[in-house]
């Protein structure tokens, strides 16, 4: 049993690190990309000063520095894995110091597992994890100091500095320092130093030198991405960590190797049982759709949807936009399970970042700018984001607001991963007519409305109609409008706007058109020859099957689930 205990102690850290790396770097890679896109690290002294000069600012700065490498998810996974490992190793070291043994070492994994679960929610930043790592290793460092006076002085200064540097996560250091001191040296000076440090922090708290709310005084406001801080998760985490550190020395004398092995099995089993429940598969999928859409990888979006139906509205919006952008909407719109116009757009505020993509690509540049701006200020109150700053640079450039665009691009020049993109755009702006002739930006500039109208997200079909009236050559807006009519089952408006090209109509349009003709008793023989008569025959077969099936969607979906007629008859929204 002793050997098992020993090998488990050696193997488990590596196992956890690899598992965390695979989890975040591979299976959560879209989360990491999305997370990175919503952050922005600038390599400037001003940025460093601004970030560091608030409670927990140093931790925030270091973590923002690390988050930029999430741009390469495998590397991002390494960063998260190493932080989780550092926390586990630190807690284990504290336990060893306080017990002078390896008693209950598997419990040192508890804080890391909890934070692993926390990080599955993209609303939590890894700053709190970094804070705990700093706290626990500060305690370990202090315990190594032999000289009583020196240890006491470092304890006093170090704990206060730690709180200022990383925020509330520093509380773990207090617990660890006190426990180690009581379990080993029992030096009254060092213990007094922890109390005095706590008093100084309490006085600072009560005198309110910072403009921070109570909740933000706990976390520095940086462990969670916006104002409404979820403190409960942190209280549980710090409580669990403190419990492990405090209880271990109390029970260590009764712990035998077999208990460690049982505890190790229990911890691994718990992690295996708990962590998958925190894995946000829908979130990962949705973020994948967003990142691909954002990069204009339309075919990849469609391919993804072919393998696995989009599970969320934002993902559906990305798919439908991709179909429109590739000109396949008219043909393939109903190849995918549509569930109404909600899969095309949402009302304002519901999901700014996804709808912003729709607006941008359809030529609503001012609105895309508004959505990007609102996204920027709502996602995080303390920092900008790469997604939104790049978009704001684009929208301002397309709309001709060059000075503002340059301001954003100049900021992006101070980043690691967006620098060359920004410099290319600055060069583009310096070249006359280059934007007009640019494949994407030139088209979007030409697709913008020419006459002003007020935008209402809840009347998106009307906005599209206005756009199409003003910009008849805006193919994307036209197809989006037609998709809107079809999904809204507004066949009259569809028929009114339908243009029949010489090469005929795409499948979904033709199915809708055939249905309209049948409702209006139009003889297909009288219709233009470029319309596919087979579609009219198929409609007759559909009606026959419908009548035979007794209005049963399950029976009908087998052969007709990919038709507009099926959508019209069976999909409710």
């Amino acid at each position: 049993m002793k050997q098992v205990d020993k090998y488990a102690r050696l193997v488990l850290p590596a196992l956890m690190a690899v598992a965390a790396w695979l989890f975040f770097g591979v299976f959560y890679r879209w989360h990491l990309l999305y997370f990175e896109g919503n952050h922005l690290f600038l390599w400037t002294a001003d940025y460093a000063r601004e970030t560091i000069c608030h409670l927990g600012g140093l931790g925030d700065y270091v973590m923002r520095f690390l988050i930029q490498f999430y741009h390469l998810p495998l590397l991002g996974g390494v960063i998260v894995a190493l932080l989780l490992l550092a926390l586990q190793q630190g807690v284990q070291r504290v336990m060893q110091l306080s017990t002078q043994s390896n008693a209950l070492w598997p419990l040192s994994y508890v804080p890391s597992i909890i934070y692993w679960a926390i990080l599955c929610d993209e609303n939590f930043t890894p700053v709190g994890l970094l804070a705990m790592v700093a706290a626990i290793w500060t305690a370990v460092g202090i315990a190594r100091l032999k000289n009583s006076w020196l240890r006491s002085a470092i304890t006093f200064v170090g704990l206060i500095a730690l709180w200022l540097a990383v925020g509330g996560g520093a509380v773990v250091a207090w617990v660890a320092v006190v426990v180690i001191e009581l379990a080993t040296k029992r030096d009254w000076r060092a213990l007094t130093a922890t109390v005095l440090a706590a008093v100084v922090v309490a006085v600072m708290w009560l005198s309110r030198p910072w403009h921070l709310s109570d909740a933000m005084m706990v976390t520095g406001g940086i462990y969670f991405r916006h104002f409404d801080i979820e403190l409960g998760a942190f209280y549980k985490l710090w409580g669990a960590t403190s419990a492990v550190i405090v209880l271990t020395p109390l029970v260590s004398r009764w712990v035998r190797e077999w208990i460690n092995v049982v505890a190790a099995v229990a911890v691994v089993a718990t992690a295996v049982a708990v962590l998958p429940k925190h894995y946000d598969a829908n979130g990962e999928d949705t973020m994948a759709y967003y990142c691909l859409t954002r990069n204009g990888q339309w075919n990849e979006v469609i391919e993804r949807a072919r393998k696995h139906d989009p599970q969320t509205r934002p993902a559906m919006i990305c798919l439908n936009l991709s179909l429109v952008m590739t000109g396949q909407s008219g043909e393939q719109l109903f190849d995918f399970p549509q569930y109404g116009p909600a899969g095309l757009f949402m009302t304002y505020g519901e999901d700014l970042i996804f709808c912003g993509e729709v607006l941008f690509n359809l030529g609503f540049i001012n609105e895309a700018q508004r959505y990007a701006y609102e996204m920027m200020v709502t996602y995080s109150y303390l920092q900008r984001s790469a997604f939104t700053i790049t978009r704001l640079a684009e929208t301002n450039m397309i709309a001709g607001r060059d000075q503002v665009a340059r301001k954003y691009l100049n900021a992006l020049r101070h980043t690691l991963f967006y620098r060359s993109w920004a410099e290319n755009l600055l060069e583009l702006m310096d070249t006359p007519k280059a934007i007009d002739e640019h494949r994407l930006y030139g088209k979007l500039r030409r697709n913008q409305p020419v006459k002003n109208f007020a935008f209402f997200s809840e009347k998106f079909d009307k906005m599209l109609e206005e756009m199409v009236d003003q910009r008849p050559k805006n193919r994307e807006a036209y197809e989006y409008l037609m998709a809107f009519y079809l999904l809204y089952k507004d066949v009259d408006s569809f028929a009114e706007r339908l243009i029949i090209p010489t090469k005929g109509l795409p499948r979904a349009y033709e199915e809708a058109f055939a249905m309209i003709c049948r409702i209006n008793h139009v003889n297909p023989a009288t219709l233009p020859s470029n319309l596919n008569r087979a579609t009219f025959d198929r409609l007759e077969r559909y009606i026959h099957a419908y009548n035979m099936s007794g209005n049963n969607p399950e029976v009908m979906s087998k052969d007709w689930g990919r038709s507009y007629w099926f959508y019209t008859n069976f999909i409710r929204f």
Binding site: D46, P209, S213, F227, Q403, P449, F455, E466
Partner: protein
């Protein structure tokens, strides 16, 4: 051998420095901010500046005729405070000679002058810094800037209050011991700071329906006139316009800080008119405000606000029975009336239409001479871009106003001197220790720049511990 190498290397560096090509130019130096020909107060902080082009070295010689200082830096100059003050102390004007080294070539530009006015300026400027956004907001705060020291202080940041919006700071004739600002959202109210007492006032009543909005202190400090507005936004799609803010309805009310009464007046609550942006005259016996016909509000570009006035009796708190139209705007909309404290002038913002000129590129500042009745566009201050909010210093010799002239979006505070004849000097951007890095990097706007005559003595603790209060409605006949 090692010494020889060091000597050789040093010689190379010295030679390289001394052989930099030198040129002269009859152009003014490319510096940011542009200080050429501006007039500054004798107590202003150092006017640090940066090269507006990519530079390797910037050198400046600043002279007042009898003494001079030389400063240099890599991308700009940081002028020592003590030497700057000594230079300004007995100066009428400064001559600034600037040399910029770029790509190995040092160019000596034509010197420019800075006029030094004996009219000292107030202690500082209070403003809000906020993203120039739409409906949502992130971190924002009210700050005040020490104009003699180039130092920014926090009055309040919304991180103190969760996610509230803070706005509309206002002072009784620049006096920070009589001041107020609004905190919107959960736990919000109007923070009233009166002679050391802090009250968080709920100004919403059943009758008025909404909280007080745009304030103006009576010069004696007893009353505050407010507009109460039902504010909406609309978003444009044509590239040259972004958004508009407008009122569904608005009235003007007057709060009495002594009695705690919020006075409403039929003449200022006319359902047939919108009344907004109240502003007391210097003697406190006239209340200016802007007024528009609600019928036109059906179509926003048709909304024009006129400048109106009504008498006010500070002894009784009553307003007059007759509204006078001071200026109908000649087809444009007049907003933000602000009377100089010496009673001579009234400054307004004039824009093609509407009530929120900050989003209108055409918005300009206009001056009305209250003695002669003459009015003019203040071309000395206006630019091709938006000029909007403005306020007077306590001496009425300086104005600070917000302008979007730098990049078209982010509002910046500019300061200008006004002489006996009502002529304004060329405005200058509010100084900063590191102006280019700060203003280029800042993605927030400066809102509502207001002069203050002393530092503001309110701490975060004071704000959190402010006593809750409510106004008492009084309907005047």
């Amino acid at each position: 051998m090692r010494k020889l190498f060091i000597i050789a290397a040093l010689s190379f560096v010295v030679a390289a420095c001394s052989t930099a090509e030198k040129r002269t130019s009859d152009q003014l130096p490319p510096i940011f901010p542009d200080y050429a020909g501006v007039t500054v107060p004798i107590n202003i902080a150092p006017l640090n500046f940066d090269a507006a082009v990519a530079a390797e070295r910037v050198e400046a010689t600043i002279s007042n005729g009898s003494q001079q200082i030389k400063v240099k830096g890599r991308t700009g100059v940081d002028i020592p405070l003590r030497k700057w003050r000594a230079l300004l102390a007995d100066a009428e004007r400064l001559t600034v000679a600037v040399a910029v080294t770029a790509e190995g070539v040092q160019t000596e530009y034509a010197p420019f002058e800075i006029m030094v006015s004996r009219d000292s300026i107030d202690y500082g400027v209070c403003y809000r810094r906020v993203d120039p956004g739409y409906e949502y907001y992130a971190r924002m705060g009210l700050y005040y800037y020490d104009l003699a020291e180039n130092e920014e202080h926090i009055l309040i940041e919304n991180t103190l209050l969760g996610s509230s919006c803070v706005n509309c700071h206002s002072f009784a004739k620049t006096n920070p011991s009589k001041m107020m600002f609004h905190i919107r959202g959960k736990g919000g109210g109007t923070l009233m700071h009166l002679n050391g007492q802090n009250t968080l006032l709920n100004t919403k009543t059943d009758a008025t329906q909404v909280s007080c909005v745009y304030p103006s202190w009576h010069p004696e400090g007893r009353y505050i006139a407010y507009s109460i507005n039902d504010i909406k936004q609309t978003f444009h799609n044509e590239p040259s316009m972004l958004l508009d803010v407008y009122d569904h309805w608005s009235d003007v009310v007057i709060y009495d800080t002594e009695t705690g009464e919020l006075n409403t007046y039929p003449i200022l609550s006319d359902t047939a008119r919108f009344e907004t942006f109240p502003s007391f005259s210097a003697d406190g016996r006239t209340l200016y405000f802007c007024s528009a016909d609600p019928q036109a509000a059906e179509l926003l570009p048709e909304v024009r606000y006129e400048l109106c006035s009504v008498g006010f009796d500070p002894a009784t708190g009553e307003v007059g029975n007759e509204i006078t139209t001071v200026w109908d705007g000649d087809g444009a909309s007049l907003l933000f009336p602000r009377a100089s404290y010496d009673g001579r002038y009234l400054m307004v913002t004039r824009s093609a239409y509407g009530t929120f000129p900050i989003w209108h590129k055409d918005a300009d500042l206009w001056l009305i001479d209250l003695v002669t009745g003459e009015r003019r566009s203040i071309d000395e201050l206006n630019s091709d871009n938006t000029e909007s909010y403005h306020s007077w210093s306590s001496s009425s010799r300086w104005v600070v106003f917000s302008s979007r002239r730098i990049d078209g979006l982010h509002t910046r505070p500019f300061i200008a001197h006004v002489d006996d004849e009502g002529r304004f000097s060329k405005p200058f951007l509010m100084p900063h220790n590191d102006p280019r890095t700060w203003y280029d990097g800042l993605m927030q706007s400066y809102n509502i720049p207001e002069f203050i005559s002393a530092p503001i003595e309110i701490s975060p603790k004071d704000i959190l511990q402010a006593e809750a209060g409510a106004v008492e409605l009084r309907e005047r006949k």
